[in-house]
Subunit: 329 residues, 2 copies
DNA sequence: CTGAAAGCGCTTACAG
DNA sequence: CTGAAAGCGCTTACAG
């Protein structure tokens, strides 16, 4: 590794001066600047960011803790973020927990030890330990996807999105509406979407049979199983199903098709997520698009604000959604 | 930021000793070690990786330059990589070019300036400038997806995968086989897959009508258009189509369905990629699964080997694929 | 078993 | 307009 000192020697100046041309700070005469620039080009010298960070206390890196790569949600979010961050010459240091919950805390610490300028957490759930870790982190921080008390967050409006779906069903004439959810320890997807469903049903004074409310995990197969339970166990068969994710909905759809139910005539179906899949299954799935790229940009702006110290305290941003009405209803 | 010095003072020892317990190196008496450990826990002290890197010249970070987040390919690759890297406590510093080609070089330099221990490039194409940049990078480096001369690479066996598909068609009794490709400046997807098609056709002494060979870009819409051109312009209609990506195949499928062709009876269809989509379109798409998670792990191992100096020079790894025969053929 | 000191590669007052 | 020197937070010979 070539250093600033060597460049200085080669250009017959002090490292101070080299530093000045590197950072465009202070005065440097034109001939000297040219000389230095030439040496830099010839040698292909790149200054060490570590030494720089050590002095300046800035790294231009944002740490991102995420549960899993490759879900459309995280991909879209990260795309949005990295686009916005790139404008300000920030980069992303990834910490992929691969759904191992304990790793969240480990990685938060690791990122801090790397002196990242800020941390973004794509949160799937919240627990006491995580919360207290976040508190004592004491660096710019934004949580996405879950509303964590005391910190800035960007969340979807899960509750109203769910209500909107029930409203759509009712407008289409449905009154027997089943529900496929996930565990409520996931506050956004599990709890809030379910609450939206239950509250909307109550608003419309519609009964909810116990068997209509089933739970899966985040994959297609469990949607299939949940739908199966609904159809096999219900005393009164529903005419519509709201699944809290597209994958669950697609699983439900597969069960229905395999068993000869026509969609949407015999059973209407709605998911959430606007996954690519939802558009290409047959019939195409009615779903809700949360604007994740947009969310990513918001997150980037938030954290950048905190870093620059312009932040006026804790912010809660709730993003809009779009209802995509397609053939499954 | 609390530093090692302050810890030392609080524990009434020198920073040397603190460093020793931090790194489990050298001798430290048990009582002293306990005292230091306690102070560290109380204060929540985390050592600065920058200062560390500056001294040790190691960062435990691998830079990854990728064209776009969120394609299944890159997601699966990164998942594979990050899993393997995590085992060795390495992290990933992301540089997302968002398909802007000039950024590749910019990011390679940036990553180097961040003293990453190695760089992985998910390459979409190669040009002279990029090549010479890679040459003078002079740090552990692995390219994925394109065979770049002079460096270690992990690539799919695009050529034989394409041949395999034609073989499958022939076995099913087809002889009039059309092709939807992409621009040949993409050596793997564009050139090699096309070459595989052409060579296989020649091997079987099958004619290739000029109109049967069409080109799209990497999206569904262009597959639709390409299929349309094939059907409208061909003097002799094909009975089978090989599209070089699943998205192109899905587009082609949509055109065929809209225009009343039954699949696979009137037209057989095969893609490449094993995208989630391919499984859930109707009919399900026959495709080739390149083992991307596996590729990610291989890449991680390769770069780790280079870093540890155990590398025995340039390596070329060609990954296996699986043919997934489904309903579209 | 423990510590003083040098040094990693930068930046930044300060002095001239 | 330019440079000498201190210092960022660590680690590591070296000495005791």
């Amino acid at each position: 590794m070539i250093t600033i000192k060597e460049i200085a020697k080669m250009a017959n100046v002090s490292s101070t001066t080299v530093s000045r041309v590197l950072n465009n700070s202070g005065y440097v005469s034109d001939p000297v600047r040219q000389r230095i620039l030439n040496v830099i080009k010839e040698t292909g010298y790149v200054p060490s960011e570590h030494a720089k960070s050590l002095r300046t206390k800035k790294t231009k890196v944002i740490g991102v803790v995420l549960p899993r790569m490759g879900t459309e949600t995280s991909s879209r979010l990260i795309n949005g973020m990295s686009e916005e961050l790139a404008k300000h010459e920030y980069q992303i240091l990834l910490a992929n927990t691969n759904l191992e919950r304990e790793k969240e805390i480990v990685y938060l610490r690791l990122l801090k030890s790397r002196q990242v300028d800020g941390i973004v957490l794509l949160a799937t759930n919240i627990n006491e330990e995580l919360l207290s870790e976040i508190k004592q982190l004491n660096i710019p921080f934004v949580a996405v996807g879950q509303d964590i008390p005391g910190v800035s967050t960007v969340v979807n409006d899960d509750y109203h999105a769910a209500k909107e779906i029930i409203k759509l069903f009712v407008e289409k004439g449905h009154s027997k509406i089943a529900f496929i959810g996930v565990d409520e320890s996931d506050r956004s997807v599990g709890y809030l979407r379910k609450q939206g469903y239950l509250d909307a049903m109550e608003d419309y004074k519609l009964p909810v049979e116990k068997e209509w409310v089933q739970k899966g995990i985040f994959n297609i197969e469990s949607g299939y199983e949940a739908m199966k339970r609904i159809m096999e166990k219900s005393f009164i068969a529903p005419t519509a199903v709201f699944a809290v994710t597209d994958r669950l909905a697609v699983g439900a759809m597969r069960y229905l098709k395999e068993n000869g139910y026509s969609i949407p005539q015999e059973m209407a179906l709605v998911g959430i997520g606007a996954s690519e899949l939802s558009m290409y299954v047959t019939p195409s799935l009615t779903t809700i698009d949360f604007l994740y790229e947009r969310a990513g940009k918001e997150v980037a702006s938030l954290i950048l604000q905190q870093i620059s110290g312009k932040d006026t305290g804790q912010k809660k941003i709730q993003l809009n959604y779009r209802l995509l009405v397609r053939d499954s209803i």
